[in-house]
C-alpha cells in the first residue's frame, strides 16, 4: 500500500511537486535561519572569548577576585609548568598565557624628552614563539594598517588611532611606563612594528600589543602571566563543556587554601558574560521558535490548501466506494512522505547554505564603523546538532497537521450531495 502511494506521488507530480517545493523552501529557510541566529549570537561570545575571556581562563584565586582591576601583582607564577599540567589534563584544548596591563605610552622628541603621551591598555601575547595561534586567533594579520607584525623582540603594535594621536610611525621608538609585578615602576623602550585597526572603538582608542616575553621582561614577570586562556576543540563555545572542564580542574585544588592557587573559570563564570551567554542562548532559541512557528503556519496552510485542491479527487474516490477512513488515511500517509521528502531536501540545502556562511562568513565591516562595542565584523552561521532536525518540525509536522485538518471535510461529505456534484 505504502509503495503504491509513493509511486503515485512520484508519477503524478501535480500531487507532489509543488507541496515538496514549498516544504523544501520552508525547511531550508528554517535551518539556515536557525544556524544564522546561533552563529550571530555565538560570534559576539567568540569575539569576547578570543580577546579577553577564553572558553575557560586560569588565574590565581586572588587575581580572579579583582580581575577587572588587572592586578598583575597577584598573577600566576610558574606558568610553563602549569601550561604543561593543563595540556596533560585536557588534551585537545589549546592554552594561551596572556598578560593584560595598563600603562602610559610616552613618545620622545629629539632630546629624548616627552613629546607626546597617552594612556594605553596593553596585551602581552605569544607572538614570536612560532607554535602559537594567537595571531590567527585574533586575526592580527588582517588588522595591520601600517608596518608589519613584530618579527623580533622589542617590537610592539599600537592601534592606528592611538599612533595617529601620538604622531608615531612604524620604526619609531617609545617608552612604556607601567607597574611591574611587584608594584614597582616599569619603564621599557619599544619600537613600533606596525599599527592595527580592529574596527572596534574600545580597542582602537589605545591598545598596545607586545610579545608575551617582552611584557614579562618589562613588567618583571619572569615565567608569570596574569591569565592562561583555554580554548575548547572546535571553534565555538560550549558552556556545558567549559563548566565541566573548570569543575574538573578546580576539584584538584579544592584542598589548597593558598590564595595564589590557580582557579579555572568558564567564560560564563566571568563577569557579566554568564548573563550574556544565557541571554544569547535563550534569545537564539526564542527567535528560532518564533521562526519555526511562522514557518509551521505557512506549511500548515500549504498542507491545508493541498488537501482542499484535491476535493474533486476525493469525491470521485468516495463515489467509487472507497471508505472515508481509507481516503483520509491515504492522504495523511502521502503528506508524511511529502513532509519527509521536503524536510530532507530542505535540511540538506539549508545545511549547505549555513555551511558556506560558516566557513566564509558575511563581512559587515562597513556597517560597524564607529562602533564602540566588542562586536564581530564578519558574521558566521553556526551548525549545531539542532540544525539537523529543527526543519522537520515545520516541514513534517505542519504539513501533516494541515492535511489532517483539510481531510476532516471528507467525513462531513454526504453521499447524496456527492452524486449531485458529480452530475454537474
Amino acid at each position: 500500500m505504502i509503495r503504491f502511494l509513493i509511486k503515485g506521488l512520484i508519477r503524478d507530480r501535480s500531487r507532489s511537486l509543488l507541496p515538496v517545493i514549498v516544504v523544501t523552501a520552508g525547511v531550508m529557510l528554517t535551518v539556515a535561519m536557525h544556524a544564522y541566529i546561533k552563529g550571530f549570537m555565538g560570534d559576539s561570545i567568540e569575539l569576547n572569548a578570543k580577546f579577553s575571556y577564553g572558553h575557560v581562563k586560569v588565574m590565581t584565586r586572588a587575581y580572579a577576585e579583582e580581575a577587572d582591576l588587572i592586578p598583575n601583582d597577584l598573577a600566576l607564577v610558574g606558568t610553563a609548568a602549569l601550561k604543561e599540567e593543563l595540556a596533560e589534563k585536557f588534551p585537545g584544548m589549546v592554552w594561551a598565557p596572556r598578560i593584560r596591563f595598563a600603562g602610559l605610552v610616552d613618545v620622545p622628541d629629539e632630546q629624548g624628552e616627552t613629546r607626546a603621551q597617552g594612556p594605553a591598555m596593553g596585551l602581552g601575547l605569544d607572538l614570536l614563539s612560532g607554535d602559537s595561534r594567537e595571531i590567527e586567533r585574533l586575526d592580527l594579520g588582517r588588522a595591520v594598517v601600517r608596518g608589519s607584525l613584530p618579527e623580533v623582540r622589542g617590537q610592539a603594535l599600537l592601534s592606528e588611532v592611538f599612533s595617529r594621536r601620538l604622531n608615531i610611525e612604524p620604526g619609531d621608538s617609545f617608552t612604556l611606563i607601567a607597574s611591574d609585578m611587584g608594584g614597582g615602576l616599569a619603564m621599557r623602550n619599544f619600537e613600533v612594528a606596525g599599527t592595527l585597526s580592529f574596527g572596534v572603538e574600545i580597542m582602537d582608542r589605545g591598545t598596545i600589543i607586545l610579545d608575551i616575553e617582552d611584557a614579562r621582561l618589562a613588567l618583571n614577570m619572569a615565567d608569570a602571566a596574569g591569565e592562561i586562556l583555554g580554548f575548547l576543540p572546535g571553534s565555538f563555545y560550549d558552556d556545558a563543556e567549559a563548566r565541566k572542564t573548570a569543575d574538573v580542574f578546580n576539584a584538584a585544588y579544592a584542598g589548597d587554601s593558598d590564595e595564589f592557587a590557580p582557579v579555572m573559570k568558564s567564560l560564563s563564570g566571568q563577569g557579566t558574560l554568564g548573563t550574556y551567554v544565557q541571554f544569547a542562548d535563550v534569545w537564539a532559541n526564542y527567535i528560532s521558535l518564533v521562526f519555526v512557528g511562522v514557518m509551521g503556519l505557512v506549511l500548515w496552510n500549504a498542507g491545508l490548501l493541498g488537501g482542499l485542491r484535491r476535493y474533486g479527487e476525493v469525491g470521485v474516490r468516495l463515489a467509487m466506494g472507497e471508505e472515508k477512513g481509507h481516503v483520509y488515511g491515504a492522504m495523511i500517509v502521502e503528506s508524511v512522505f511529502i513532509g519527509i521528502a521536503g524536510s530532507v531536501i530542505g535540511t540538506a540545502l539549508g545545511l549547505f547554505i549555513a555551511g558556506v556562511i560558516q566557513k566564509y562568513g558575511i563581512n559587515i565591516e562597513g556597517l560597524m564603523e564607529g562602533a564602540s562595542l566588542m562586536f564581530p565584523t564578519v558574521i558566521r552561521t553556526r551548525i549545531t546538532p539542532v540544525s539537523y532536525y529543527i526543519g522537520f518540525i515545520p516541514g513534517l509536522a505542519a504539513t501533516v497537521i494541515g492535511t489532517a485538518l483539510s481531510g476532516i471535510g471528507i467525513f462531513k461529505r454526504q453521499t447524496a450531495r456527492l452524486f449531485k456534484e458529480l452530475e454537474t
Binding site: D73, D106, G182, G183, G184, L185, M187, N189
Partner: protein
Amino acid sequence: MNKVKTYLLLLGLTAMAAAAFAQAGGGLDADAILERVDRNMFSENRIVESSMTVHGRRGSRTMTMRTYSVGDRQSFTEYLSPPREAGTKMLKLEDRLWIYSPSTDRIIQISGHMLRQSVMGSDLSYEDMMEDRKLTDVYDAELVGEETVDGRAAHVLHLKARVADVAYDVRRIWIDAERYAPLREELFAKSGQLLKRTEFSEVKKIEGRWFPTVVLFKDMLKQGDGTEFRMTDIKFDQDIPDHIFSKASLR
C-alpha cells in the same frame, strides 16, 4: 532685674566655654597648633636618606633613596637600591614632575591622571609626593577634640582645604599636645570617603625640631599592609647646590 541675671548667666557660660576651649588647645587655637606643626615639619631645605618598605600581598620589598628638597617648590630623589630601581631619579619643580630611568635612558614628564598612580608600588601617589605645602597655607583648621594616641595626649584637628588644587579636601590630624608633631592622620576625598590613613612614630628631636622618623602610609582603597617610610638620616638647612634641581642632574 531678671534681664540682668540672664545677661550675667550668659556671660558666665561664654567665659566658661572659652576657658574650656583654650584649655583643650593647651592655650592655643587650631591655627596656632597647626603653625607649630609646620614649624616642626617644614624647613628651608633638607637632605633625607630613607628606606621605603612596601608591604604587598605577596611579600614586602624595600627601596632606599636619598632626597634633596628646598621648601615646597623643589625636590630631587635618587633611588639607591634594589638594583632594579637603583639609578631611577625623580625631579619635582613647582607643579611638574620628571622621572628618569637608567634602563630606558629617558626623561619622562609625569602629568595628568598619572600623578594619581602609585610611586614604586607604594601606598603613596606622585600627587602625595608633590603635595608638601605648609598645612597653614592650604587648610582652615578647627580643633575638634582631645584624644590619646599611643599613650600621648593629642589635639585632634579637622582641616578643610581653602584652595582647589589640593589632593585631599579634608584631613583629620592628631597632633602631639606636647611636641606638636603629627601622630596620626586621615585623608578624605570631597565625597567624604576615607582615602588614606597615616601613622607617625619614633618622634625624635632633630636640630631643635620634633620630627617623626617612621611613617606608615595605608591606601584604604588598596589591599596590603601599607608602606613604611623610615627616615634614616635627616639634615635640615643644608647648602644644596642649585644644579641638583635641574633636568641635567637626572641623567
